[in-house]
Symmetry: C2
Subunit: 109 residues, 2 copies
Amino acid sequence: MTNSERYKIEAKARILKALAHPTRLFIIDKLKERTHCVCELTELVGADTSTVSKHLSILKHVGLVESRKEGTMVHYSLADECVVKCVGCLGEIVLRQLERQVASLADDA
Amino acid sequence: MTNSERYKIEAKARILKALAHPTRLFIIDKLKERTHCVCELTELVGADTSTVSKHLSILKHVGLVESRKEGTMVHYSLADECVVKCVGCLGEIVLRQLERQVASLADDA
DNA sequence: GGCGTATATGGCAATATAACCAATTAAGGT
DNA sequence: ACCTTAATTGGTTATATTGCCATATACGCC
């Protein structure tokens, strides 16, 4: 493996690790529609502000979201629309898995 | 959030967590081309067999890969081609991030 | 049956993650 | 300057992940 390959694979793994949490996926899903401030997301997620803030900082650190400060509030938005496509593919995988489960249940019956 | 939404988001997070490791991404990348047995992957990865076997079991557990036993060997393959698309999107994100970094370096100069 | 190769599993130590609370910083309004 | 609201950061505890070693299992061959 070349250094460039190693770098890319590690960068991808970092991004995936940042995505791999229900709360963070939920946040990404909300930001897909529009920009949200931390207090809105805190409300939507239903956890401590500090918890949500840390999740956001994890997403920001790998470049998946951007923040813009306005007065006392911080507005977060998606940094790259590609993540929507990526999560969309996952959705397809999940659906297909469900279909298979249903099919195998039908076979048993 | 409905139960169905919660289920899907957790399913996606489980899959992402399984993907989010350099070695496992590397394995997925190798399986993209063709089926590989554990010993081949062990050789390619350069880690202990037990380590590779555990990575494969993590990938299998979330339904990303399938295994077929043949004699004393076990052949692993991709279970859903969609994961290729998903990792491809990640690649785009990484490239775009690199481009931005290069651009900002150019700005500084 | 006994041996060698291919995988898988259990156990362990090191490290990483996650959630909350508490404390801090930042900006506005009065 | 003081108070309030918004957000971040540090600390702590509980839990999860990772990688290797040692051990077990499975299969083919003699």
